[in-house]
Symmetry: C3
Subunit: 211 residues, 3 copies
């Protein structure tokens, strides 16, 4: 395992950890019991990747097969429960780490889908699914309209990262290591800057929500 | 591609288009942003087929692999957003085109499932899933009790079409082209007549809803 | 088919039947039509197993392929509709049979996942999914926060049964028949005793629900 692989490995565990924390926090807010919290945390962290693996035929899905995903998300649940009142005040750090998770999951998801399917569209759609699928399942299970369908520049940042992965793989201008780094950074910056400057995608129509 | 294949191809794109429009309209009503609208439109149009393909082992699913599904549903989203106030008044035409989509998706879904699994029950269940799965996902994501579980003679019309496909394939009374045409027409007529004459399936019990 | 296989076969049909009844009862409470009731009953009875089969690559899923699951769940729906007012008073017997279904589905699910994947974690996660997945889908489709994420010692009993299956298979202390019997009995007792004595998993934190 070279340095770059090690970095991605660490970042993927970091993404698993942060996504699991977001799932555990939301479950605790909804009054779930211990099993419910651990289950939702695992689903947020691994749900998107499991959908991707089922769709590309990587059976059984990595999220079910590799114990460190389950261990990481369970540890994240434990820490969330233990430090709950502290974590609730952590809005900015959590958004920061969540943006890292989003970027990493989009890029590694798109790369795996490309490897298995050799199809650009599959890579873009399933890379995005890897990044946002878990959060979507969390909101469905907790009876909320999925945040990613309402919050601006979240899934769209993942789509941009996946497109960079596909273009980089197709044109081979630079090494695949650099492609990954550029894709992750772009997604991360788009997400963070959109939070900072309140960018959004509603340039086509004024927002008339019925809520 | 002969004339009949061309007809089915056009009808399938029509079904994709109309289902995507229904998804985009529902998303706009719920105040989703541009990405959310395009995502829900795509899920309504392709979700049922993706579930079918995962269950029969057609990997990666056609809905993710063939770019024209995504393009069709994105164009349908754009048109829905641009002509929103006009489309809201179009109730009857939309129900008409939706009935065509339902019939086509049921028949092509049952045929594909039969081809892969050689199992009549799989064909009936997954043909129906192809036709109604997308709408079901739409309602789950938008936090509604799925309309297809409440509205009468919608999924049941798809079931009838799938049974005709399976019987036609088994007994080979007539060419498979005619089987498709009879199945599509039966589903379409059942659906349209049930709308016109308010047929429903509650002949076993009076409806006592707690809503 | 020897005596033990016959017993498990009967118990699996019993589980299918009881899970379908729970789905049909919930659907009737929510005012669904006949098709909706049969569909939800089938999804509760077979949904967990279908997710398991897709994740281990057993294609097409047993729940879609073997007609007796669909027949059993449809018969259960018919009986539920016919005897609705009687069944609503049956709370204790239903919980008793549901605990049998939970135990059987967890053990047979874990065994099948182990057979296909040869991976202990996959067996535990997918055995539990087999047991609780259908109920989870029911609650999502009927717009409820999944009961299994809130009710104590339900999914956790299934997890314990799956761990016994995996340990029994690994260490081979006793015959696999005895492992199954021990696993099923443990899950069943845990569930029944937790109902009787109101055990729960919230020993880490006092319950502060926002509902």
């Amino acid at each position: 395992m070279n340095k770059q692989q090690l970095l991605f490995y660490i970042l993927e565990l970091e993404g698993t950890f942060v996504f699991a924390m977001s799932g555990a926090t939301a479950s605790k807010q909804h009054g779930l019991d211990l099993f419910g919290i651990i289950a939702i945390a695992f689903i947020v962290a691994c749900g998107g990747g499991i959908i991707r693996d089922v769709c590309i035929g990587s059976i059984p899905p990595a999220g079910l097969k590799n114990w460190y995903y389950l261990v990481t998300s369970t540890v994240a649940s434990g820490i969330t429960i233990a430090l709950y009142s502290f974590i609730q005040r952590l809005k900015h750090p959590v958004l920061f780490f969540d943006a890292i998770g989003l970027s990493i999951f989009a890029v590694t998801g798109a790369q795996k889908a490309l490897l298995y399917s050799q199809n650009a569209e599959v890579a873009i759609l399933l890379g995005t699914t890897t990044a946002v699928g878990g959060g979507l399942l969390r909101d469905v299970l907790l009876k909320r309209i999925p945040v990613i369908l309402r919050k601006e520049i979240y899934a769209s940042a993942a789509v941009v990262a996946c497109i960079i992965v596909v273009l980089g793989n197709h044109f081979k201008w630079i090494s695949s290591g650099w492609v990954s780094i550029i894709a992750v950074s772009t997604c991360f910056l788009l997400r963070i800057l959109s939070l900072r400057y309140k960018w959004h995608l509603n340039f086509f129509f004024t927002k008339k929500s019925n809520h």
